[in-house]
Amino acid sequence: MNWWDDALHRATAEVLLAGALAGLVGVHVVLRRLSFFTMALTHATFPGVVAASIIGVNIIVGGAVAGAIVAVGVAALSRRRSQNTAAATGVMLSGGFALGAGLVASQNGFSRDLTSFLVGSILTVSPQDLMATAVALVVVAAVLLTCARPLRYSGFDPAGARAAGFATGGWDVVLLLVIEVAVVTIVPAVGTILALALIVAPAAAARQWSHRLSVITALAVTLGALSGLGGLYASSRWDVAAGASITLTATAVLALSTVLSRLVRTRPTVPVHLRAASA
C-alpha cells in the first residue's frame, strides 16, 4: 500500500505544508498590519468556494477568484485616502460571508456540510490538494524571496520607496495577491473561520523574538508547521475537530511565546518612550 493512501498520512503532510505557508505569509501580514484584510480574505473566499462546489469546479479556483476580487478591491480603496478602508473591508468580510451562507442555504440537499467550510476538513485532503499546497508554498516563497527588496523598502518607508522609483502601489498588490494565494490554499484544510489564527499567531509569536526578518521568517514557518502538527495530533488523540485543535494550538503558541518573552527580558521590541520620541 502506498504511504499516501492513508488519510492520516496525507493530513500530516498537509498540516506541515499549510502551517509553513501560513507562517511564511503571516510574517508580512503582521509586519504590514494586514490582519483585518486577511480576515476579510478568509471570509470572502467562502462564497467562491461554495459556488465552485455547486457548479462542480475545483473549490480552490472558486476561492481564488473571490479572494482576488477582494484583494484588488482593497488595494484600489486604499489608494483613495478619503475612503474608509477599514469600514469597506469590514463590509466585504461580512457581506462575503453572508453570500456564502446564503448560497449554502439555497441548495436543497447540498452535498457538502456547511461545517466543513467553516472549520475545514483536513482528513479528507486529496493527493491533488496536497500537491496544490506544495506548489503554493514554493511559489509564495520564490515571490517573497525575489521581491524582498521592494517589499522591505515600501513596507518600511513608502514615501522613500516611491521617491526611489519603486511603484509601491504595484508592490502592494503583489503582496496582497501572495497573501490571497496562501489563504485560498489553507482555507479548505483549516476552514474559513479558523485560518486567520494559523496565519497570524506563529508570525506574531516569532516577531517577539527577533528584529531580523530572516530569523522571524524561519521561526514563523517552524511555529506554523508545529502548530499544524500539534493540532492534528491533539485532534486524533482526543477526537476533536482538526481545524479547531490546530487553531487552538497556534493560539497557545502565541500565548506561551508572549509569556516567555516577557519573562526572558531580552525581548527586543521598541520601548514605548522611544516610539513617542520618533513621532
Partner: protein, 256 residues
C-alpha cells in the same frame, strides 16, 4: 533660456504651482540652482515646503509652470535625486537594521532582485562611517534615537550618490550631536558639487546651512542670500504679521 543652460542648472523651477487634486497649496515658485548650491526652504507649518519637495521628486504633480532637474523632468531624474523623508513617515517597528536601511539607497543601482556587490557594501559602510554610525550597522532601526535615525536616512541618501539632495525637516527631534554631524556632512557634499535643498522652520539653522534662502507660505515671498531674505520685514509679511523681533542683526520669530 537655451538647452545648455537648462542642463547646467541642477534644479530649475519656473513659476511652478504645486498641490493635490488640482488645488494648489503653493504657487509662483521660481528657483534656479547651480551644482553645489545650498538652498533652505523657510516657512511656517503648512507653507507648502514638503509639497514642493515632493513635486521635485515627481510624487506630487506640478500644476502650472515647469520644473527640471539637471535638464530632465522630475520623474526622469529619479536616479540623480536623493531624498531624506521626515522620520515620522517611517514604520520604525519594521524589522530592518541601520545597515539594511542604508543599503536601500543602493537598490536602484543593484536592481530589485540581483545580489549585492562589493561596491554596494563599501558604499554603505562608507556612508555609515561618514555619519559616525559605523558601530550601528547591525542595530535595529527602531531602537536608535531620533537623531541617529535621521543620520541613517542621510547615510541612505548619500549611498545613492545623488547630484541633487532633498531633505524634509532633517533637524526635527534631532539632538545637537546629530545636528552637527548632519550639518558638517551637508557642507562636505555641497563642496563636492551636490546641490542641496532643505526645508526647516529653524531660522538659525537656515543661517548656518544655506547660501540661498527661499521664504514660502502659499507662495514664494523672497529668494536670495540669508542676510537679505531672513529679515524681519520679509518674515513678518510671509508669516502673516506674527511678531518678529530683530536682535543683534538676527531675526527671531516670536509666537503670538
Amino acid at each position: 533660456m537655451n538647452d545648455a543652460a537648462a542642463a547646467d542648472a541642477a534644479l530649475r523651477c519656473t513659476e511652478v504651482s504645486v498641490g493635490y487634486h488640482g488645488t494648489p497649496v503653493l504657487t509662483n515658485v521660481t528657483l534656479d540652482l547651480v551644482p553645489g548650491q545650498r538652498l533652505a526652504l523657510i516657512g511656517p507649518n503648512g507653507a507648502g515646503k514638503s509639497t514642493l519637495i515632493k513635486s521635485i521628486l515627481g510624487l506630487v504633480p506640478v500644476l502650472a509652470g515647469t520644473c527640471t532637474v539637471l535638464g530632465r523632468t522630475p520623474s526622469h531624474a529619479r536616479t540623480l535625486i536623493g531624498y531624506v523623508p521626515q522620520t515620522d513617515s517611517l514604520d520604525a517597528d519594521f524589522p530592518v537594521t541601520a545597515g539594511q536601511v542604508v543599503m536601500m539607497g543602493r537598490y536602484r543601482r543593484i536592481g530589485w532582485w540581483r545580489p549585492t556587490r562589493g561596491v554596494d557594501r563599501r558604499a554603505v559602510q562608507e556612508a555609515l562611517d561618514r555619519l559616525g554610525l559605523a558601530d550601528h550597522a547591525r542595530t535595529h532601526f527602531g531602537v536608535l534615537s531620533g537623531g541617529q535615525r535621521q543620520r541613517v536616512l542621510l547615510a541612505r541618501a548619500i549611498a545613492a550618490e545623488p547630484r541633487l539632495l532633498l531633505l524634509d525637516e532633517p533637524f526635527n527631534g534631532v539632538d545637537l550631536v546629530s545636528q552637527d554631524a548632519i550639518l558638517s556632512v551637508l557642507r562636505e557634499l555641497g563642496a563636492a558639487g551636490t546641490t542641496l535643498v532643505l526645508s526647516t522652520h529653524d531660522l538659525t539653522l537656515a543661517h548656518e546651512f544655506a547660501d540661498t534662502v527661499c521664504v514660502l507660505n502659499g507662495r514664494q515671498w523672497a529668494l536670495g542670500p540669508p542676510g537679505a531674505t531672513l529679515t524681519a520685514d520679509t518674515l513678518r509679511r510671509a508669516y502673516g504679521g506674527h511678531a518678529i523681533e530683530l536682535r543683534d542683526g538676527r531675526t527671531v520669530l516670536v509666537e503670538p
